[in-house]
């Protein structure tokens, strides 16, 4: 049997269980697409920009936990993909990007559409592979999936010259699937390094049982390790309050009394103040990011620190710990939950309740129906709790993080690490493709949505159940806010001179569009629109002077936040 490189790629992807690939064809990846045309197992999603394709793959990966695939051609195709790859790296999202490269004989000659893909990939991927012959594909492709999913997940680029895609090789027997490469969300269960010893567990239990005011600081590692249920039982058993990072939202039910909400730069006043009081910070699946910790030297000043993360390089990176463990949190929790005592912690809980009452989150009056926090809260009350929310980046993103009642993991998809405007729409498309039974809502702003607006065409092609809500303030709101607060109200280049009619734009893409410009009853109309299951865009005007509060000034400690009391 003769097989071309392109055919081998597609068949190996089928063997990995891939059923959707987002991408754009071009000169250097045509042979792969030629082989893809013959596949009845893989659906190709034609994006309108490679960055869109990358984020569609992210939407699939972020909701399933498994590596998703995107295709791009050489040169500009690769360049356009890079932002989505870097985004996946910073949020630890498993992605396999397969890029076409110009023929090997031309590499290094500055040929048409040539860029050094592997060179560009180095700082923004977990690893990159350059394929120099078709037979290497049998090793490299499964290996790329293993690397992307194992341990701390991340993106991998496979760069394949056109001649390798065309190369025909004789295959007597198709190589058997390597059992070690069996894909599963539990893949790192087999990783010996990820297991904690009994001594480790004993020490952890001793520290927790002995502490008076423990506090859990959780992040994306909880959802990556699929340990939210265990975490819940663990926190409940020992009555440990839980503060979450942006990436961890949804891993602990937001209506639980132990839940403290999001910590850090835009956390509630009480959350950051309670962190000041804890005597034992239990950091699970987090990386002490500056947006979460504020001035690191003053973060949790009274606490001993326990840090568990699958990536050893995160331990003691930003903050020295008293005890750290490079391990899979689920395996740790599995054991640890048996060793911790049941404890009501009445004194600590009472203290927390008092701080919560004295320093509440500054919600606006309910009557102000167009206040973004109220809008987001009411959206949360209208939809099922398995609804997937994607956001773009900026004020609306923080309002979602502050006010949306997340109950389940993987229901918030947001660009946490890189903070990529334009993330929301294509990621929503990927999420909807992977979750046809769920509603997807993309909350965006009038700045962000324009950064990948072309994907409305992809959405129209696919007719998915996605509602895009544009909180429209006519400015780059988060930057405007920074200019107001920290640059003496000197506004430059944050107010848009013109503002497009988003409802009409949607209609011209073939999608329903609504404008709330003259709508006195936004809640009622929202309810009606959200009960439908078709793609649509809703433009909601909001006040451009509205700020995300509270906020921690640059370089300040979390407890020095401003704008908490004023609004209370």
């Amino acid at each position: 049997m003769k097989c071309s490189g392109g055919e081998i790629i597609i068949r190996l992807l089928e063997e990995q269980g891939i059923d959707k690939i987002a991408g754009i064809p071009g000169g250097a990846n045509l042979p792969m697409y030629h082989a893809l045309a013959k596949s009845d197992k893989i659906q190709h999603i034609l994006a309108r920009h490679e960055q869109g394709a990358g984020f569609i793959a992210q939407g699939i990966a972020r909701t399933t936990g498994k590596a998703a695939v995107c295709f791009a051609t050489s040169g500009p195709g690769v360049m356009n993909l890079l932002t989505a790859i870097a985004d996946a790296k910073l949020d630890s999202i498993p992605l396999v990007a397969i890029t076409g490269q110009i023929p090997s004989s031309l590499v290094g000659t500055d040929a048409f559409q040539e860029v050094d893909t592997c060179g560009l990939a180095i700082p923004i991927t977990k690893h990159n592979f350059f394929v120099s012959s078709a037979k290497e594909l049998f090793h490299i492709l499964p290996e790329a999936f293993r690397v992307a999913e194992e341990g701390r997940p991340g993106p991998v680029i496979i760069d394949i010259p056109k001649d390798v895609q065309l190369e025909e090789i004789e295959i007597d027997i198709w190589p058997a699937k390597d059992r070690n490469n069996e894909r599963s969300i539990d893949i790192y269960m087999n990783n010996d390094k990820a297991i904690a010893s009994l001594e480790d567990i004993d020490q952890l239990a001793e520290m927790i049982n002995g502490s008076k005011k423990p506090l859990l600081y959780i992040g994306g590692g909880i959802l990556q390790s699929n340990s939210h249920k265990l975490l819940y039982d663990f926190a409940k058993k020992n009555s440990i309050p839980v503060a979450s990072t942006l990436m961890g939202l949804g891993c602990f039910p937001s209506n639980d009394p132990l839940y403290l909400g999001m910590l850090g730069m835009h956390g509630a006043p009480y959350t950051n103040l309670i962190l000041n009081e804890t005597d034992l910070l239990i950091a699970f699946g987090v990386r002490f990011d500056d947006r979460a910790t504020g001035k690191i030297a003053e973060f949790c000043p009274k606490a001993s620190i326990i840090h568990v993360d699958i990536d050893p390089a995160e331990l003691d990176k930003n903050k020295s710990t008293n005890f750290s463990l490079a391990a899979d949190i689920r395996l740790v929790l599995d054991e640890l939950i048996l060793s911790i005592e049941e404890n009501q912690r009445e004194g600590w809980i009472k203290e927390i309740t008092a701080i919560k009452e004295d320093y509440p989150f500054p919600m606006k009056k309910k009557e102000d129906a167009y206040h973004p926090l109220n809008l987001i809260k009411s959206i949360g009350s209208m939809v099922e709790d398995d609804t997937i929310i994607t956001t773009d980046v900026g004020q609306h993103q923080m309002w979602v993080a502050q006010a949306y009642p997340f109950q389940k993991p993987r229901t918030l998809l947001t660009s946490g690490g890189l903070g990529t405007m334009g993330f929301g729409l294509p990621t929503a498309i990927g999420a909807a493709l992977a979750n046809p039974d769920k509603k997807v809502i993309c909350v965006s702003g009038d700045g962000s949505i324009l950064m990948n607006l072309q994907e409305l065409a992809t959405l129209a092609d696919l007719n998915l159940n996605i509602t895009i809500i544009i909180l429209n303030n006519g400015v780059l709101g988060m930057v405007r806010q920074l200019q107001e607060l920290f640059f003496q109200e000197t506004y430059i280049s944050t107010k848009f001179v013109t503002n497009p009619d988003f409802a009409s734009i949607a209609k011209n893409f073939g999608i329903k569009g609504y404008d709330f410009k003259n709508n006195q009853e936004p809640e009622g109309t929202l309810q009606k629109i959200l009960s439908l299951s078709e793609p649509c865009v809703i433009n909601i005007p909001i006040d451009s002077s509205e700020n995300v509060m509270p906020t921690v000034p640059p370089g300040a400690a979390n407890h020095q936040m401003i704008g908490g009391k004023k609004y209370a």
Binding site: F130, P312, A313, K317
Partner: protein
């Protein structure tokens, strides 16, 4: 003889194109200082040995952990019995003395 100001990190790496830029790229991206590199292929293997001369500061553990994460890096250790004069000789070569 180890010195207090510098440390030599010894690496065993897969010998294929791109490994060197993966390693130097890490140093650039993480803003670690890299004072010198020595590299050579191990006979009859597909691996190479690399020696990196770096400043001995409080980031050394982080550098080692980040190096260990690189796909093509097979072994990382701090070289305790390396002859630092090797790098001194190279220094002389570079300076043309």
């Amino acid at each position: 003889m180890p010195r207090t100001t510098d440390v030599i990190i010894q690496l065993t790496v897969n010998n294929h194109p791109g490994v060197m830029s993966n390693i130097t790229g890490l140093f650039t991206r993480r803003a670690f200082n890299l004072e010198g590199i020595l590299c050579g292929r191990l006979e009859d293997t597909k691996t190479s040995k690399m020696y990196l001369l770096v400043n001995n500061d409080n980031r050394i553990n982080q550098i080692i952990k980040q190096l260990e994460k690189l796909y093509d890096v097979l072994e990382v250790s701090i070289c305790t019995n390396c002859d630092y004069e090797v790098f001194d000789n190279i220094h002389q070569l570079i300076q043309g003395k």
